[in-house]
Symmetry: C2
Subunit: 110 residues, 2 copies
């Protein structure tokens, strides 16, 4: 991960949660465990490689857990960890702000 | 700005606020109006070009206001708009989460 240059806590968060997809990904995992292809379907704009990298970064931060089931074909599921549930209020606040942004555009102010 | 692919409000927010620097930039503007070079000093990791682009994106979204004072040399200041103040709780929650992340690393869990 990129180095935190400012030492600031906001930067620390954004190094992990910034980018376009990570919090969106977390918002889908709030619904429960998901398989890789479920997530791809939820996020048509993300490439397979980027989704893999984003999942791995969140996994390394212990915010999501990856479980491999030894079925055939192998089933891999992702879910939020207890620490990952700390992201719930962050997802909520981003959802509210996004709704406000969209409403503003609709009202012709944006 | 990139297109919102999922229609989701979280994505709508992250298209605007995602990335490493924008919320950090907003956090410095919470202290009051700042000049371009003040912001550069606060964020040693950001390039001049990226800072310009980030400021412009937030200005186009009416979250910050750019004021040019016709002094010599010209003075340019950036400040949060009323709409931009909607970002205060977002910056706060990111700050709290960043503090938690840093404390976790210190405690050897991360």
């Amino acid at each position: 991960m990129k180095k935190n240059m400012s030492g600031c806590s906001v930067e620390e968060s954004m190094r992990l949660l910034g980018g376009r997809w990570r919090l969106l990904l977390v918002s889908y995992l709030l619904e429960g465990p998901k398989r890789f292809n479920d997530l791809r379907r939820n996020m048509p704009g993300i490439s397979q490689r980027m989704l893999t990298l984003d999942l791995r970064a969140l996994e390394e931060a212990d915010l999501i857990k990856r479980t491999v089931y030894p079925t055939s074909p192998i089933k891999v599921e992702y879910e939020l960890t207890e620490d990952g549930k700390r992201l719930v209020p962050i997802v909520e606040i981003m959802k509210d702000f996004g709704l406000w942004l969209k409403a503003r555009v609709k009202n012709g102010e944006g």
